[in-house]
């Protein structure tokens, strides 16, 4: 079942002077199956964040359509989008984006309180999530008392508490040390095994190697997609690195 589909999505940023246009996305089309873990790779400035922001309805597309569960979110009104984001999308940021004024537990519970869910039930689900993410002991702490990796796991719990259709992650391991970042990626894999659809954006081949499929984004276009298939992680990683080096040498020639 297709859970997410992009059809020829364009995004053009117009600078304040109205003269300079940046074509951040230039006709992106792709699909995501339910329960799939997809990584989008690209250099910095290639339009990865722009793509995720469009998926999360933070911004409007210039052209094209985005379907989540067969619903075109481009056509939605502002309020509808916010509601949709709250209920159906979980988002993890590179900078964790936890609220300093709330404890870890309150941070996680915030989305269900905002959408007025039954708190008792959610607390049970929270226990389960915390068990998966290994943060049972951290719930009473405040963000400033947590390490980066712990903060990011809390942020993932917050993204998942409303059981979203899809989890979007913008370089979730970007601000973490290599050990915490490996742990985090393992966790994402574990979540995927439990049936969670995940779309992750990254520029690190290692992070991408945890996914089942990697799409390469360059200058706002998807230039190639590769599947891990039956490969183990190491071979998949090598294939990704190979892809990148081929890409780079091609750039060298063109230059």
């Amino acid at each position: 079942m297709t859970i997410l589909a992009l059809e020829n999505v364009h995004k053009v940023y117009t600078s304040r002077l109205k003269s300079q246009h940046t074509h951040a996305l230039d006709g992106v089309s792709m699909e995501l199956e339910k329960g799939e873990f997809v990584a989008i790779m690209g250099e910095s400035g290639s339009g990865k964040s722009t793509l995720l922001n469009l998926l999360a309805c933070f911004d409007d597309t210039s052209e094209g359509a985005i379907y989540i569960q067969d619903k075109n979110i481009v056509a939605m009104k502002e309020e509808e989008k916010a509601l949709y984001r709250r209920e159906h999308i979980g988002f993890v940021f590179q900078d964790f984006s936890l609220l300093d004024s709330l404890s870890a537990e309150d941070n996680i519970l915030l989305p269900c309180i905002l959408s007025q869910k039954d708190l008792k039930e959610k607390r049970k689900y929270l226990q389960k999530l915390c068990h998966t993410l290994h943060i049972e002991d951290l719930l009473k702490r405040f963000p400033y008392e947590l390490s980066g990796g712990q903060q990011q796991r809390v942020a993932i719990a917050r993204a998942l508490i409303n059981e979203p259709d899809i989890l979007l992650a913008d370089e979730p391991s970007g601000a973490l040390d290599s050990k915490s970042s490996m742990q985090l990626l393992e966790l994402l894999c574990a979540l995927q095994k439990q049936g969670q659809s995940i779309l992750m954006v990254t520029h690190s081949p290692l992070a991408a190697s945890y996914a089942q499929r990697v799409a390469f984004l360059k200058d706002g276009k998807i230039i190639q997609e590769i599947y891990s298939g039956e490969d183990n992680r190491e071979t998949f990683y090598n294939r990704i690195v190979h892809m990148l080096s081929v890409q780079e040498s091609r750039d060298l020639h063109e230059y």
């Binding site: 309020e79 984001r85 004024s101």
Partner: protein
């Protein structure tokens, strides 16, 4: 590095953050200007030659100058702290980028020098632009010329500049200590912003106790004069209590609310409560300052207004029917002449023969003692003033018919003690003492010609005898001795106000005549309180300005610091509308708490305020209460408007901004 380089860098820093430096410099300039005006008035006015209110004016100006100096120091300290908070990140960045401590200290000093010099120049410009205006308004309040023209007094300017510079120096030392003791990384980080504030039990308890005791004292004040120290103590308690309440009690209360799960885990409460808790830590001090400034503003302003409007009322009360009370003209012809000279005509007149004007007597155990009583005064006696007049004068003045027996007198008693008998203590020629008793009848008509607490009305044929009785010695019993009693004439004139004033001035100038008249008294009272009013207005401006500055800086911080938080909430799935509602909920508390507490302070200060107002005779009829109440309402209104404006601004910002 070249010193010129530091100045260039400092100047560009100041220019980059002109929206926080400009109000600060403006405030310093204004302080400079006010201080100059007050000092100029104090040193150049020849107050001893003033016709009215000479001593009080100088005292008030000196007192006001000292208070202003203290206030300026406090204001500069507070606002430079706020600025410190905003620039320490930038300075931390400089350190990280390779500035040494010494470099940064130099840069900071350069910044301070530039700001001070600019503020001084601004202050001088203010003096030139507003100086004349302010002095003219001071003269208007004082109803007379205070000084002959205003010029630039270089020495005074120098002194005041020195004062301001020394304030700047203290601030510089404080900042330098801050820079030396903080490492670049802590400067770079928003200091401890993320940590949860702790509820301090001691502060909480102090807050409540201080406020309670302060209120209690204020409510129990009976007499401004006697309880002055108590009042000052109460004021200090309330000031400290206010700080403690915001720093301790507020946080404690929010924590208690947070502990209530049902209440806390609610869509509308969770973020609000936790954010308020966090914001209270950085805002507690400024909220408390706003509260105190507002309280002072309301009290000062309503005091000024009540003085201004009340003086006239209280003078009117003193002259309800007749505007002139003249003593010393017994010859009708002479009076007619003077009146004619000023193009006036007598409208109505009452003549009251007076035995003696105001003199002190003793009231003890519901008995009145006159005569040789000075040596008998004991501690619990009250010693009101008494005027003695004749019965015929009384009948004329009140249009009543009264018969007095030989051993009876009539008494108009305005004290709170009932009086039934009168004792006359006479010293005979052989120095023995004899005491006469008279029965006292109360007058049931009040007439205001004589303002003393007691007015004694005696039968006409005994008037001369009473001259002796009042002094307790037989002087006039010589049968050949005859006295004409002096005549008090209460009169009104027909004619223009200017002519009446001229008449009053003319009569006042005559040594043989004593006169009390509406115009002179009003003029004198107004001019006596003129300097008071003037200072009150200067202080009110300063209070308003500093409140405005606190709010301005807070708004500045608000708009910057909450951008991040709002963007997180937006990304979690709050709509922009919900976001602006959320910020409205938080701001409502933060903005409205100070004025509400200030109003509570004012209400608690009301008894003392009322006593003060009644010193001037207009504490009656709830007038002072009305004034203060109106002051409170105006303040509340202004804050609500401010809240709505801020809300609109934030909403616009939220609505238009992209992620």
């Amino acid at each position: 590095m070249n010193i010129k380089y530091y100045f260039t860098l400092a100047w560009s820093d100041i220019r980059n953050m002109k929206d926080i430096y400009l109000p600060y410099g403006g405030m310093m300039s204004m302080c400079f200007c006010f201080l100059y005006i007050i000092a100029y008035l104090g040193t150049h006015g020849n107050f001893y030659s003033l016709t009215k209110g000479s001593i009080m004016t100088l005292d008030l100006l000196t007192c006001g100058g000292v208070i202003l100096c203290v206030l300026i120091f406090i204001l500069c300290w507070t606002f430079s702290l706020t600025i410190r908070r905003q620039i320490s990140t930038r300075q931390g960045l400089y350190r990280v980028l390779g500035f040494s401590r010494k470099n940064l200290l130099l840069l900071n000093a350069c910044e301070m020098i530039i700001i001070s010099v600019l503020a001084l120049i601004g202050g001088m410009i203010f003096c030139i632009v507003f100086g004349k205006l302010l002095i003219m308004s001071a003269e208007r309040f004082a109803r007379q010329t205070l000084i002959q023209g205003i010029t630039v007094d270089m020495r005074l300017m120098l002194w005041i500049s020195l004062f301001m510079l020394s304030v700047g120096l203290v601030l510089l030392v404080r900042d330098s200590v801050y820079i030396v003791t903080h490492n670049p990384l802590t400067m770079l980080r928003k200091e401890k912003m993320q940590e949860q504030p702790k509820a301090k039990k001691l502060t909480t308890i102090f807050g409540i106790v201080f406020l309670g005791v302060g209120y209690g004292i204020s409510l129990s004040v009976n007499d401004i004069g006697d309880d002055l120290e108590k009042i000052v103590f109460a004021i200090l308690l309330v000031i400290f209590g206010t700080y403690c309440v915001f720093k301790g009690t507020g946080i404690m209360l929010l924590k208690l609310l947070q502990r209530n799960e049902k209440l806390y885990y609610h869509k509308k409460h969770m973020i609000t409560l936790s954010n308020l808790l966090f914001r209270l830590r950085s805002y507690a001090v400024s909220m408390a300052s706003i509260t105190i400034l507002l309280t002072m503003l309301i009290l000062t302003a309503s005091m000024c207004i009540s003085l201004y409007t009340g003086v006239e009322d209280s003078v009117k009360q003193r002259f309800p029917e007749y505007k002139f009370i003249i003593n010393g003209i017994n010859d009708d012809q002479q009076l007619q002449q003077i009146v004619k000279k000023h193009h006036l005509a007598i409208q109505k007149e009452v003549q009251i023969p007076v035995v003696h004007g105001a003199m002190q007597v003793v009231v003890r155990n519901e008995e009145l003692w006159i005569g040789k009583v000075n040596e008998t005064i004991k501690e619990n006696d009250s010693v009101p003033a008494l005027t003695a007049i004749t019965l015929s004068g009384y009948q004329n003045a009140t249009n009543t018919q009264v018969h007095l027996k030989k051993d009876e007198v009539l008494l108009l008693n305005r004290t709170s003690h009932p009086i039934h008998t009168m004792n006359i203590r006479m010293e005979n020629d052989d120095h023995t003492i004899s005491i006469m008793k008279k029965k006292v009848r109360s007058s049931d008509v009040d007439f205001e010609v004589f303002p003393t607490d007691l007015v004694l009305i005696v039968p006409d044929q005994q008037a001369v005898a009473y001259l002796d009785y009042l002094f307790g010695e037989y002087v006039h019993d010589d049968p050949g001795y005859s006295t004409t009693l002096s005549m008090y004439r209460s009169m009104n004139f027909i004619g223009s106000e200017d002519n009446q004033k001229a008449l009053a001035a003319d009569l006042n100038a005559n040594e043989e005549i004593t006169i009390e008249d509406y115009y002179t008294v009003l003029d004198e009272m107004m001019s006596a309180y003129g300097s008071f009013l003037f200072l009150g207005i200067l202080f009110s401006i300063l209070f308003i300005f500093s409140i405005f500055m606190i709010l301005y800086y807070r708004m500045h911080e608000d708009l910057r610091e909450h951008e991040h938080e709002y963007s997180i909430l937006y990304r979690i799935g709050l709509t922009k509308r919900e976001l602006s509602l959320e910020s409205a909920r938080e701001n409502r508390w933060l903005i409205l708490a100070p004025p509400i507490l200030a109003i509570l302070h004012c209400l608690m200060a009301y008894p003392a305020f009322h006593l003060f107002a009644s010193l001037f005779g207009f504490g009656k009829n709830g007038f002072s209460f009305m004034l203060m109440g109106e002051g409170c309402l105006v303040v509340l209104f202004v804050f609500i408007v401010y809240m709505l404006l801020l809300q609109m601004l934030i909403k616009k910002k939220i609505m238009t901004r992209k992620v």
